[in-house]
Symmetry: C2
Subunit: 325 residues, 2 copies
């Protein structure tokens, strides 16, 4: 994989990043969540985007890790709000410690993200902070919309796409834009990188929703069927509610109406998955995800940059499209 050296450099940078020492109760949870791994998708996008314009992509490593720290801060706080017991197969911070610790460690993590961003050259700092602020606020907005949708039954496809754009995609867009800014790309180019990142982010989240239903439990990190059990209003469920008719529609509404704890979850997951497959939702969702990926690729391919410079980034994008976990 041509992006392997980037991944290794990011891994080292994460390992060498310190967040503070005293009191230990505040800083230990940060080391913990950062050590749980993950694909390091966002810092990869930053370094790979910088590599489009410079061989000195290593200078983006600290700001790239800032994006990863910010992402993990949102996970730490989202997990409290969602009462999630597990993250990457390990106890969440509020489970391992408590909610207060997860709130306060998360807060100082957000501050740590800004501190890592300070590594950019002063000339880029106002733009970097400005764009990061906008992105961070949008991620919070996305989380709030996601929580609002839990108690609504009339969420439209447009609303769902806008929610995942905010909650997930804009940070991928910012990660790419950041690499461009640090590498000295002009405004039109950094905007193109942002657009590519947002589009691939939408593809990435739709793919995630697909894997949540159709993923291989051995490979997928989370519980397969989790979204179905929670009646999460994903693109797939919204589409199924639009397409289902007659007995299929009745069946779908039957399962949505069951109170948690009153049914066998495996039976529900199997039944709803079956409905999705009958309606061709898997194909529709895959086509939609691929369309977003394709748009991202298009934007990248049109960048006036030598093909060799694009290869690691395009290889990584390919990897994202084909991922099974």
């Amino acid at each position: 994989m041509t992006f392997q050296p980037f991944l290794e450099a990011i891994g080292k940078q994460v390992d060498n990043t310190t967040y503070g020492a005293n009191p230990i109760e505040l800083y230990e949870p940060i080391q913990y969540i950062m050590s749980l791994g993950g694909k390091r998708l966002r810092p990869l996008l930053t370094t790979l985007s910088a590599h489009l314009f410079t061989d000195d992509w290593q200078k983006t490593l600290k700001p790239a890790v800032a994006v990863e720290v910010f992402h993990n801060f949102t996970l730490m706080h989202d997990d409290i709000m969602d009462c999630a017991p597990l993250r990457r197969g390990k106890p969440t911070v509020h489970e391992k410690w408590n909610a207060n610790t997860a709130i306060l460690s998360g807060d100082v993590m957000l501050v740590n993200a800004y501190e890592l961003l300070l590594d950019v050259e002063p000339v880029h700092l106002p733009k970097v902070i400005k764009r990061f602020n906008r992105t961070a606020a949008e991620v919070c907005e996305g989380q709030q919309f996601d929580m609002n949708f839990e108690t609504r039954t009339d969420v439209s496809q447009e609303e769902y796409i806008e929610m995942i754009r905010l909650k997930t995609s804009v940070l991928l867009g910012f990660a790419m834009e950041l690499g461009g800014i640090i590498a000295g790309a002009d405004d039109a180019t950094t905007q193109a990188l942002y657009d590519a990142g947002v589009s691939m982010g939408l593809g990435f989240q739709l793919k995630d929703d697909l894997l949540d239903v159709y993923g291989d439990p051995e490979k997928f990190g989370k519980q397969v069927g989790g979204d179905i059990i929670a009646n999460k209003k994903t693109f797939m469920l919204i589409e199924a509610l639009l397409l289902a008719e007659g007995e299929t529609k009745e069946q779908l509404h039957y399962w949505l109406a069951q109170e948690q704890g009153t049914y066998d979850t495996a039976t529900k997951v199997a039944a709803v998955t079956d409905i999705y497959t009958q309606l061709g939702i898997d194909k529709i969702a895959e086509a939609k995800a691929n369309a977003y990926f394709a748009h991202g690729f298009d934007v990248l391919q049109n960048l006036p940059v030598a093909e060799a410079r694009k290869k690691p980034l395009l290889d990584f994008a390919d990897f994202l499209v084909g991922r099974e976990s």
Copy 2:
């Protein structure tokens, strides 16, 4: 009051500050907590410190409000952690809405604080963000120490002073330093402003602890005796534990050992207050607070700035020393 024009300008700036619009669930709690008032101590210190060096102190208004927004963010999150029902006599955000709302609105408030700081001239931005990051992390550290102290019985005076330095004082120091930086003061001067702010912040918190025991319930915004009821290890309690002997010591330990809900709180507050008075703790705490204030005044008086420029800041410091609420 010579600082009145500064206070009015800050009030207007706070009223004109917007934090975001959609989703309303995310942004309404920010408007709410910012509208609850308070002394606007921190933005006053920023503008008054800038006024030492320039007539154009209005250019510090947005960054000054950044400090106030940050302060209110910490209140919003601390109130969750402390299960506080009231803030400035009104329901706290997690009570009026819920804990998830208070977590997420708080997060976006912290981002808003950074956005308001972006108003400083780019030449000052790296230092301002660097110093703000350090301060923000220290405030979180102070809150963690404060929580740690709840379950400890051996907190020393040094530890308590260090805790309030982190939790309260460094932000007052930063508020003053920020005014100096924006007004173009040199490093030695901004450092002096920081030191003065930290010292006055220690005096301010010790005075707050005193008012918590001896304040006039009509004037003091919080429940008088709250620290005594909670067995909070303040400077006063730690000092009393050091000084008490014989029957007084037994009495003090008796009240500390009572489980909440098993006694009449007014009786405990009266008994412990009486012990403090017998031991002269009120005088000791007042002298300690005044010593910190005096050091702050000294630093300010030694600044090579015309007396007329210092007057509003010194008047405000005087007001803080004499405050009864």
